[in-house]
Symmetry: C2
Subunit: 322 residues, 2 copies
């Protein structure tokens, strides 16, 4: 699709932003929600360019807004947190597209709204921001999972989410990705790999990962007594130093799966980054859970769906072309 | 005891060094192993002064060696690791004072020997360095525990150690202290506390710690699904931001105790820093395990015991006064 450069276009467009801690992804969505163009910058809310949120928003969407001056923008993710641009207060669970669309925050002076996260209150409080939008998008693409499904969104903060009747009910957060990052960079567990001059071959890496998954996945107690083995196995000559972080990744993912499978059973789908989801699929297979489908890139469809329900686009809006 | 300053003394002395990753502690021990003088510097093996190991050793022990030119020195801890001064290869378990004394490493050009660590080989490899010496010292002070006891040494890398007939048999390492340090400093779990302008009062802190201990200690799955609650409880108004690291400390110690009690039962004694041991005692009490004694400062007695067995001091050495 070639945009009508230089003059305003009357076609309906939505500018959809997936704006998290470490990255800003922007999508120009067409009348049916299809992704026409996409861009990504490393402008997470913790690493904004000079000029802050407004400059990042202007730079990544500038020409889209020139071409479609009437287009509204909708963002999801940490941009709506207390450290974000404008706080979008959590919706209490259970919440679905209806509740989210009713609770958008609006950025003063910009045609930009922000999707709130969802908070689980009560005895085991928990919060999500961004994942709710990916889940809404996944339900658009796969309506079957809206009924009653356990969904897993691997990531820095992995979420295990119970969906019923199109709404997010209970959920649990695992710090798996962040644990891996901080232990690799800042703990003694990462030191042997950091100091290794060798890069692990694919087969050595896969074997180390699988070993970690099986150790934690079959453990009675969990990862606590196992973490140090990422170092001890190397020091006693039983694991290649350069593969020790793959082993650690296996331990952490294996422990997440041990807990999650024990509490909620096998997931109906994985949602998220394809490479990371592939690690989870292979770990699930090692633990005897096969054929869990992966849903990628569902944030744009989620933003589209919430925007329609909120009347930012579609039949309920009336537009005047500038 | 007043040293005979300015001239050499014929009394038998041992210079005992507890030299770990973050600190160097030096003790001048008398003829019966009693601590005559002690010093500490922040000269862990990762933060040596200019001049490195030799300068640190000279500076902390200089006048002792002038007064007692015949005195030998014995060190334990990470100073004997591959990142240390001279590597003292691990003794395989089971090992006690006999095996350790036979396997000392010697620093070329110095009257200094280094105690090796102990490695558990086989299916669940594990290593310790420094703790073996504390355990030997604890058995000197409390001969009863040499027979058959589970000992816990809380720390950066907590050890749960099974001792039989005076020797270290199986042991497990928990990364509890290091996890707390890296998560506090580098993860999102520490952010709310780091940003809080308020310091938690003693009662608020104790309550948060206890809550963490009970949550992890009674959990079926372990700490993985609970870690994020150190943030979510604050965001949902159920925990004071300034107490969230106390809660995290409780979670991590509670999880260690859950695993350790489940695998080996209650410990016979805690060995180590009194303040840290007091946290473990209060956590054990919360989980229904009372009256576990604490053995402090046992490294000097351990070094003394190993030095005697190795003939560095005592009846088996013959000395010529300079």
């Amino acid at each position: 699709m070639t945009p009508n450069a230089g003059s305003a276009d009357v076609a309906e467009r939505l500018i959809a932003l997936d704006w998290g801690t470490s990255a800003l992804r922007a999508y120009l969505l067409g009348e049916g929600g299809e992704v026409l163009e996409s861009r990504a910058e490393a402008w997470g809310i913790m690493q904004l360019p000079a000029g802050g949120f407004a400059a990042a928003f202007r730079d990544i969407t500038g020409d889209w807004r020139t071409r479609y001056p009437d287009a509204r923008a909708l963002a999801a993710g940490m941009v709506g947190s207390t450290q974000g641009w404008v706080e979008a207060r959590y919706c209490p669970s259970p919440a679905g597209v209806e509740e989210l669309a009713r609770s958008l925050a609006h950025v003063p002076g910009e045609a930009l709204s922000i999707v709130p996260g969802i908070a689980q209150l009560g005895e085991s409080p928990n919060v999500m921001r961004g994942e709710e939008t990916q889940i809404i998008g996944a339900m658009v693409a796969h309506p079957g999972i809206a009924q009653d499904a356990l969904l897993v969104l691997p990531g820095t903060h992995s979420k295990w989410v119970r969906v019923r009747d199109g709404r997010v009910h209970e959920f649990t957060t695992y710090l798996t990705g962040e644990l891996f990052a901080v232990l690799s960079a800042h703990s003694i567990l990462g030191r042997l790999a950091r100091e290794s001059a060798v890069v692990a071959g694919e087969e050595v890496a896969a074997r180390a990962f699988a070993r970690g998954v099986l150790a934690a996945g079959s453990s009675k107690s969990g990862m606590a007594p196992l973490l140090f083995s990422a170092r001890a196995l190397v020091l006693t000559g039983r694991l290649e130093a350069e593969a020790s972080l793959e082993y650690l990744s296996g331990l952490l993912i294996g422990d997440e799966l041990r807990c999650g499978l024990g509490e909620g059973g096998p997931p109906r789908a994985l949602i998220g980054d394809p490479l990371l989801c592939a690690r989870y699929v292979s770990a699930l297979t090692l633990l005897g859970v096969g054929a869990v489908p992966v849903i990628e890139q569902s944030a744009p469809a989620g933003l589209w769906s919430i925007a329609r329900r909120a009347g930012l686009i579609g039949p309920t809006t009336s537009r005047v072309v500038a």
